[in-house]
Symmetry: C2
Subunit: 263 residues, 2 copies
């Protein structure tokens, strides 16, 4: 067995056989669902698959799509890394099927995951209106306070429930200071966040609650008269301005910013 095949076998063993609506999982070029949906994923890494000095960005894009149109979690693995099957096992612990995939060598460990789901009514970032109240589903800043270690769970149940009443929604992956600005900008509104209203995770400062990433709680805009179907905390509102303002307990604007990958 080739080394790559052995690695695929170990990953397939870690996630188990096809389950749920997955009829074809790991080991072929694509995953297949019971409704005929085919999903494939590929990862291209500079220095492994292409040389930027010789390949224009447009050609990198064309090539990446060719590789794919011709696997769902893609791994870039540094030399000597032995934990790929454990990574897959960690994904499997969410109780959802894990299928498909791609493997590549890479200078550092890279994990690229694609998820599929179904919705009746997508709630976008852009549906918020001035006057909507801004609510969050749980305490913030926990990951920042913990140094970004320990497990976090996705709020899929809360998201499904809020979808029935929310005008706009976003998950708090980069901190509410950044993510509220994204929601407001997409909605064409301003926003006011009252910092002392932010529910804080154990050990988190106000700044960590406002700017810490990877909490994955949900921020939703709700009409003022909406009756939230799950427990939420009101933290502010959308305005007819263009600015996103973070107010301290004295009502003074604070300059805080969440995570921006390219800031």
């Amino acid at each position: 067995m080739l080394p790559e095949e052995a690695l695929v076998s170990a990953i397939a063993a870690a996630v188990g056989g096809p389950s749920g609506n997955v009829v074809l999982g790991i080991g072929d070029d694509a995953a297949v669902l019971d409704d005929g949906t085919v999903i494939s994923t590929d990862i291209l890494v500079e220095g492994v698959h292409f040389d930027l000095a010789r390949t224009a960005p447009r050609e990198v894009g064309h090539r990446a799509a060719t590789a794919n149109l011709s696997d769902l979690a893609a791994f870039g693995l540094p030399d000597g890394f032995a934990g790929a099957a454990e990574i897959a096992a960690g994904m499997r612990e969410h109780g959802v099927p894990v299928a498909g995939g791609d493997l590549s060598r890479a200078p550092v460990l890279i994990v690229s995951v694609t998820a599929l789901g179904r919705c009746e009514r997508p709630v976008r970032r852009s549906g918020g209106r001035p006057g909507d109240v801004l609510v969050v589903t749980g305490p913030l800043g926990g990951q920042a306070a913990a140094g970004y270690t320990g497990r976090v769970l996705p709020r899929t149940g809360e998201g499904c429930a809020l979808a029935s009443v929310a005008t706009a929604m976003i998950d708090l992956s980069d901190g509410i200071a950044t993510d509220a600005a994204r929601l407001a900008r997409a909605s064409g509104t301003g926003a006011i966040i009252e910092l002392e209203r932010l529910p804080r995770a154990s050990g988190a400062s106000i700044e960590q609650a406002a700017t810490g990433g990877e909490d994955y709680e949900l921020l939703a805009a709700l009409p003022p008269d909406a009756d939230p179907p799950v427990p939420v905390t009101v933290v502010g509102r959308l305005t007819d301005g263009a600015d996103v303002v973070l107010l301290d307990a004295a009502g003074a604007p604070q300059s805080l910013r969440g995570w921006d990958h390219f800031g």
Copy 2:
């Protein structure tokens, strides 16, 4: 506008608005299809999203899935790289909708693409039987001969046509010497490839045709009496042995091996 938002806007402009069966494309946390399918993708990079010295592989997997269960092309961009929108434009040239996505900083450029499609009957790697003939859809070794530059197109039409008769199929991304072994092993068979029968791309040696990667021609196993619906070249057959043998013009076995990411 935050730097990351500006980059998302440039990418969205490069690929155009939602088209085909995509109702929600770039700019929200997920893409949505007209049948309610929701797709999201996220990329996690060592040194950016986690520190392997402090995070066990299983926790990396759990975290990657949380990020996602809470986008379809995901980019890891090195500092100063300005070609992300061009990469997206290159993908768009395939004439398929490009939707969703994720951005991250990374030590080198990383492009991770997920594709969705529909099939009536999935043809796996594992359906081949001893006696099936092995066919390829076009010339091989072209990318190896060209130094892995220039464009390659996916054989989606040929794949759909061959699906009506093939017992097993795989795309030739890592060279027929490697990919035929994958198909045979998955099918529980051996295989014989006659090297002089391999259709060679312009300028390609027999060795390049046998071991070169990224051609994306298709290798299919067909019942001996099958009538291929598209032009193909017979290059060998599946056997009831366990070995994959590459024979030269004199019938002598040659030791050639294609690409293995971890070989």
